[in-house]
């Protein structure tokens, strides 16, 4: 029963967040502000992780494909498909859930316990809309870009480290990554990442918004926000994979 209660509360929260803005120009400014904080601020970590992941997948698959029956260009195929299908949309989203999710939950939670949210409400401002809507839109707009960026860097990382380690040749890797390439896979990844982006921004915001108490509870909300959004990402990963790829 608690599940339904929380789901209903979450639904009403989202509905409020998408209520009519007091003033549109302010919301536009806020969206750019959030893109800057949530999106641009995550470029570094996404880049590092993607390059290393691409490199690791390359070296691991080259190691496993030692049989003479499997052509070496399969390494390129493996890197491309694992980056596009799963790694970039899902793992990057999980990492963002940790980084962005905890910052969203603690920011909003702190605003709640220091009465900043009450202050907004008293001014007649829809606090959920003002605080959360720009975060959700910023994530929806920017996370797919991050995901494409991650795909690109992962494949590039695989290339560079594969060549450097001498496990694959220049020609084979390039042949591999273009071999029977299905553009639909990228669309599929973008759909997934948009759904995850919504979860990453809204679930921690929800936990932060309904914090009560003090600094300790803010920490707790932040943890909850990250845990619930990660679990939801994994659940939706499974559901969407089933829906979109079967």
């Amino acid at each position: 029963m608690r599940v339904f209660y929380h789901f209903g509360k979450y639904y009403l929260f989202i509905k409020r967040a998408f209520g009519k803005p007091e003033k549109f120009s302010i919301y536009i400014d806020r969206i750019f502000e959030e893109i800057n904080i949530l999106g641009i601020g995550s470029l570094g970590i996404v880049a590092i992780i993607s390059v290393f992941m691409g490199a690791v997948i390359t070296i691991q698959s080259a190691f496993n494909f030692e049989s003479p029956l499997i052509p070496l260009y399969a390494v390129g195929v493996a890197v491309r498909d694992s980056m596009i299908l799963e790694f970039s949309p899902a793992i990057v989203s999980l990492i963002l859930a940790g980084k962005v999710g905890s910052s969203i939950a603690s920011e909003i939670g702190t605003m709640r316990v220091t009465e900043q949210i009450d202050a907004l409400e008293i001014m007649g401002i829809n606090s959920a809309g003002y605080l959360v809507f720009p975060k959700i839109i910023a994530s929806l707009l920017f996370n797919p870009i991050l995901v494409v960026f991650s795909m690109f860097l992962g494949i590039l990382g695989g290339y560079l480290f594969g060549i450097m380690a001498g496990v694959v040749t220049d020609y084979e890797y390039i042949y591999g990554i273009t071999y029977e390439f299905r553009p639909y896979n990228v669309i599929y990844a973008l759909i997934k990442s948009a759904v995850f982006a919504f979860i990453i921004a809204s679930v921690p915001a929800f936990h932060g918004y309904y914090t009560s108490g003090g600094a300790l509870e803010v920490g707790r909300s932040s943890t909850k926000g990250v845990v619930y959004s990660s679990v939801l990402i994994l659940a939706f990963d499974l559901i969407l994979t089933q829906l979109l790829l079967s």
Binding site: E22, K23, I26, T110, T114, E115, Q116, D118, A119, E121, I122, M123, G124, I125
Partner: protein, 251 residues
């Protein structure tokens, strides 16, 4: 004028406010006093709808707040300026941005007009050369003043202050108090001030309500409060030896 009629409120079965009736008058500083935990903040939060009430009615110049729909409530809230017990400036904004914020939200002023208005309000509360500081760089008294400046920026009809001078030295307290009183009279605002501080009560209290354990125990003016013989009020007003001595000297 704000009328509070028969307000009751309980939290999880514990009754906090019991059948409160009061009229807060326009152009006057209305003061709510009472011990810690007597329900002062709760009453204020009920009045603006941050806490739901169990029963009762609140009239803002005749408009019944709880009968209004969401939009109507919002319209009234735009006429309210409020100072919270904690500080509640937006942390990531500078002093000037904090004051400009409600203006950007609710008016169509140009950037320059907004800045002028913000500067005017900041000067009104005697806060000069602090425009580009962040709330974390301000002292307690400065924060209160920024909060007052922000509250008056949109020219509210109602100003609510929850302990505006808690944590301030006596001299700054008086400055803040008289500022609130001046603004109230200058713009003919209905002001409600919650306080623990008897100095403030004597200094600015036009119309006083004493809450005791969630009930309205007494009401009157600052002249009357010094003369009353009500035991609970005397315990509150003459809590310190100093005040007791003072009373004996007068009698």
């Amino acid at each position: 004028m704000i009328q509070v009629n028969n307000i009751s409120k309980s939290f999880t079965g514990r009754s906090i406010l019991k059948d409160i009736n009061f009229t807060f008058e326009t152009g006057k500083t209305n003061i709510i006093i009472g011990e810690s935990g007597s329900g002062k903040t709760t009453l204020l939060k009920c009045m603006v709808g941050l806490n739901e009430i169990d029963s009762g009615e609140i009239l803002y110049d005749g408009r019944s707040f709880f009968d209004l729909d969401f939009k109507g409530k919002k319209a009234i809230r735009k006429e309210i300026g409020m100072l919270f017990q904690g500080w509640c400036l937006v942390r990531l904004k500078t002093v000037e941005e904090n004051v400009v914020f409600p203006l950007s939200m609710f008016t169509d002023m140009s950037a320059e007009e907004k800045r002028d208005r913000a500067n005017f309000c900041l000067q009104r509360v005697n806060l000069n050369n602090a425009n580009n500081l962040y709330p974390s760089e301000l002292s307690g008294g400065m924060k209160k003043r920024v909060a007052i400046a922000r509250a008056i920026a949109v020219q509210p009809k109602y100003l609510f202050c929850d302990e505006p001078n808690s944590g301030l030295d006596p001299k700054t307290s008086i400055v803040i108090d008289s500022l609130i009183k001046e603004i109230t009279e200058e713009y003919n605002i209905t002001t409600i001030v919650i306080t623990h501080d008897m100095n403030s009560v004597i200094e600015i209290g036009d119309n006083i309500m004493f809450i005791y354990k969630g009930e309205k125990w007494w009401e009157g003016t600052k002249h009357e409060i010094l003369k009353t013989n009500n035991q609970e009020i005397c315990d509150f007003v003459y809590a310190t030896e100093f005040m007791k001595d003072l009373k004996e000297k007068f009698q």
